[in-house]
Symmetry: C2
Subunit: 409 residues, 2 copies
DNA sequence: ATATGGGGAATCCCCACAG
DNA sequence: TAATGGGGAATCCCCGTGC
C-alpha cells in the first residue's frame, strides 16, 4: 500500500515538471515547430539544423577510435554543418540544453526514452545524455558537433530499461517521502512493483525499434532555491534519424544496372546490383514525369523472391510502357522503392525504345547450335531483344520461377 | 624446480602412452591408411567412411533444436551414410573408440586438440569428445551417426585452451607424484608454469583455424590392472572437414550467369550471381578438355575488385579463346576457382562463337538516341555482341575500373 | 599517425519445408 | 512437431584512404 505506484497519480510519469530534475524529462512535446508554440508564452527551443536522416549507429564494441559525427541534414561534403538548436524568447542568463535520445513512434505521445546513447563531447558516459550551456555570448544557440549514436545491443535492452524504471520509481518515492532514508525508500518498493517493472521493461524492450531515434531537446536553468535544474521549455523532438546499417532503414541504392534501355513492350531481363535490400521489401519502380515533374505514369519491374540474390542483386523484367506503338524512344526513370517506409533510391534514367517487332527482323539462327531453341520459341518480347549469345541466361537455382531460355546439360 | 614442466621429458606431451588415460590421446598418427600400418604388428583403426568434406559448424547458440548430422563423404541424398571406422586386427573383447576433434595442419605432427566440440549421441557434453563401444557383435565397427560440430566462439578459445593445458599439467604432475595430495599438486604449479601456459594458449588460440577440423580416432580398452582405459591403437585422422558457412572454406557456386556464350574474341561483359566469395580470393576460369578429359586450354575472366559486389555478384569480361578464327562454335567450361585452397565450383558449359566481325554487320543506329555513342565507338569485341538496348551497362559506383559504355546524366 | 567511412567476418536467430 | 537446411539479422572487427 505504500508502494510508489499506489500514489494519487495513475502513472509515475505524470508528476509535475517542476520538481524532478535532472532526471530525464519525461513530458512529451505537444509541438515540434516553433510556431506551434506561439500560443505558449514562455521560451521555447527552435531547431535550426535538423540532424541528417541516415547515420550509422555504432555498437559499443566499435567505439575504439572514432567514426565520424552526426551532421546536419543539409550539410554539404565540403561545408559541414551540425544539428543546431536555439533557445528562443529567453534572456535570463545561462541555461543548459539537454539532448536525449527518444524512440521514434509516429505518435509523439508514445515516444519513450531510447536505450541508445549519445557519445562525444558534452555527453555523459553513464547516461548517454548530452548537455551544453548556452548564454548571451552564444546567442543561446547550441551546436551539437561531435555526436555519435551508440547502438545498444538488443540483448541488453531489457535490463537497461528495467534499471531505469527502478531508478525512476525510487526518485519518485524520494520526492513523495523526502524524510525517508534510502534504505526505507528501497524497501518501499514492493515485489508487485518489481514484477510490474519487469513486465513493462520486457514489453518496451520488445517493441523498441533499435534502428531509429529522435533527438529530444529541452532547456533547463539552475534554480538556487531548489538547488537543482528545472526545465524552462517543453521538450522538442528532431526529425527521425535512421540507422544506416540496416536493410529496413538503410539507404536504397542501385549500384549497377545491366542495361538502361529496353523495348516499350516490356519483358526484357535486366540485372541490378543493389545495396542491402530485403526480398519482400523492395520494388523496382519505373515512372515518367511531365514537364512540371508530376508523375504521369508508373509501373513495376517483375521478379520473384528467388530473383533477389542475397540482398545484393535483383534480376527482373521490365514492365510494358504505357504506350507500345512508340515511333521514337522515350526517357523515363527507374528507382528502388521500399514499401515499408516508402523510401526510394536515387532515380536513374531509362529509355523505352520503339517496339522491336516493327523493325526489320534479323535472322541469326545460323549462329546457333543445334539443340538450342529457336528465337521463335521465345516469347515475343524476348524474340528480338538481344542477339543470340547474350540472350542466353542460365539459372542454376532450382527454385526460380522464371522460365529458362537454355538449360545446361 | 619441482614444476611439472621441469621433469626429464622436454614436453609434457611426450610421456608414454601407457599411463595417461582417459585424458585425450595426444600422440599423433604416423599413418592415415590401414596399409600404412601393415608393418605395425598390433591392431589399428581403419576408416571405412570418411566424413563429408563440407559441413556447417554450429555455434552453441544454434544448438536449440537440431540441424542435421555429419554424413559420410560418399553419402547419397537418398541413401545416407555416416563416418565409419573399424578396429582391425583385434579380437580381445569390447573396446572403446574415441573420436576427438583436432586441428587440420598439413603436417600431421603439428596438429593439436581443437577447441571445437562434437555433439550428439555418445558425446560428452563437457569435453565434446565422442566415445562408442565396439565388440564382436558389431564386427568391431563404429558408425558415427548423429555427429554435429560445435563452433566455439573465437573469444572463448584462449581461455579454453588455457584450462586444458592446466588440466594436462596437473594430470602429469599427479602421475609423477602419485603420493601428493591435490592441494600439493596444485601448489606445485609455479607462476612460471602459468605464464608459459598463458603464452602458449594465446599463441595456439591465435593460430587455430576455426573453419577446419579433422576427426581423430583412437581405440582403448579397459585394463583391470590399472583400473582405467589404455590405448590399443595409434590415433588416426580423417580427411579435413571444412566449415560450410565461411567464405574461405565454403562451397564455391555459380548460381546464375547472364550469358553462356560469347564470341571467341573475348571481352564480352557477363554477370554472375555467386555464393559468398571474397574479392581477392576468386577467379573465373574458362577451360577446355580433350576427349580424355585432359585440360588443353585455360584462361581467366577479367574483372577488378570493384566488379565483385558484396561477395555475391561478379561482373567480368570473357577471355579470348585460344583460336579466334573459328568457323563453328566451341563448347568449353567455366567455373569459379579459389586460389587459397585450389577449390573449384561445379563447371558450367560455355560456348565460344565464331568471330562476330565475320558475320554481316547490322546497323541499328537509327534506334539510338542522339547523344549516345555509336557502335563504332565501342571496342570491336563489343561492337556486335548485343543489340542497342542491351549493350548498355551503367555503373554508378565511382570506383569502377572498367570504361563505361553510357553514362547517365 | 588519427579521423572517417565502409566491407565483411563472426555470431546468432529464426523461417520454410518435408516429413 | 521435431529434424533439416538455409538466409539473413545483429554484432563486432578491421582495412584503405586522406590528413
Amino acid at each position: 500500500m505504500n508502494s510508489p505506484y499506489s500514489g494519487e497519480s495513475a502513472s509515475p510519469y505524470s508528476s509535475d515538471q517542476s520538481i524532478g530534475v535532472p532526471s530525464p524529462p519525461t513530458v512529451v512535446a505537444a509541438f515540434n515547430r516553433p510556431y506551434d508554440a506561439i500560443h505558449h508564452d514562455g521560451p521555447y527551443i527552435n531547431i535550426l539544423e535538423q540532424p541528417q536522416s541516415k547515420f550509422r549507429f555504432r555498437y559499443k564494441s566499435e567505439m575504439v577510435g572514432t567514426h565520424g559525427q552526426l551532421k546536419a541534414d543539409r550539410a554539404e561534403k565540403n561545408r559541414a554543418a551540425f544539428p543546431t538548436v536555439k533557445l528562443s524568447k529567453w534572456n535570463s542568463g545561462p541555461a543548459v540544453i539537454r539532448l536525449t535520445l527518444y524512440t521514434a513512434e509516429d505518435n509523439i505521445n508514445q515516444r519513450k526514452r531510447h536505450v541508445h546513447e549519445l557519445s562525444g563531447k558534452n555527453c555523459n558516459k553513464e547516461t548517454g545524455i548530452c548537455e551544453v550551456v548556452v548564454d548571451e555570448k552564444s546567442d543561446y544557440t547550441a551546436v551539437f558537433q561531435n555526436l555519435g549514436i551508440i547502438h545498444i545491443a538488443k540483448r541488453d535492452t531489457r535490463e537497461i530499461i528495467k534499471q531505469r524504471k527502478l531508478e525512476e520509481l525510487m526518485t519518485l518515492a524520494r520526492v513523495r517521502k523526502p524524510h525517508h532514508s534510502n534504505e526505507e525508500i528501497r524497501r518501499s518498493i514492493t515485489p508487485t512493483d518489481l514484477k510490474k517493472i519487469d513486465e513493462e521493461a520486457e514489453e518496451e524492450a520488445k517493441s523498441m525499434d533499435l534502428n531509429k531515434v529522435v533527438l529530444r531537446f529541452q532547456a533547463f536553468q539552475y534554480d538556487k532555491n531548489i538547488e537543482s535544474y528545472r526545465p524552462i521549455t517543453l521538450p522538442v523532438d528532431s526529425d527521425v534519424v535512421f540507422n544506416l546499417k540496416n536493410a529496413t532503414t538503410g539507404e536504397l541504392k542501385i549500384v549497377r544496372m545491366s542495361a538502361c534501355s529496353a523495348p516499350c513492350t516490356g519483358g526484357t531481363e535486366i540485372w541490378l546490383l543493389v545495396e542491402k535490400v530485403r526480398r519482400n521489401n523492395v520494388h523496382i519502380k519505373f515512372f515518367e514525369l511531365d514537364e512540371n515533374d508530376r508523375e504521369v505514369w508508373k509501373a513495376y519491374g517483375e521478379f520473384a523472391d528467388a530473383d533477389v540474390h542475397h540482398q545484393y542483386a535483383i534480376v527482373f523484367r521490365t514492365p510494358r510502357y504505357r504506350v507500345t506503338n512508340l515511333s521514337t524512344s522515350v526517357r523515363v526513370k527507374v528507382q528502388l522503392e521500399r514499401p515499408t517506409d516508402k523510401d526510394t533510391s536515387e532515380a536513374l534514367d531509362f529509355t523505352y525504345l520503339p517496339d522491336s517487332l516493327k523493325r526489320p527482323r534479323i535472322n541469326l539462327e545460323n549462329t546457333l547450335e543445334e539443340g538450342k531453341p529457336h528465337f521463335s520459341d521465345l516469347p515475343p518480347a524476348k524474340r528480338f531483344n538481344i542477339s543470340s549469345y547474350t540472350n542466353e541466361a542460365i539459372d542454376l537455382s532450382n527454385n526460380s520461377k522464371l522460365p529458362l531460355v537454355f538449360v545446361n546439360s
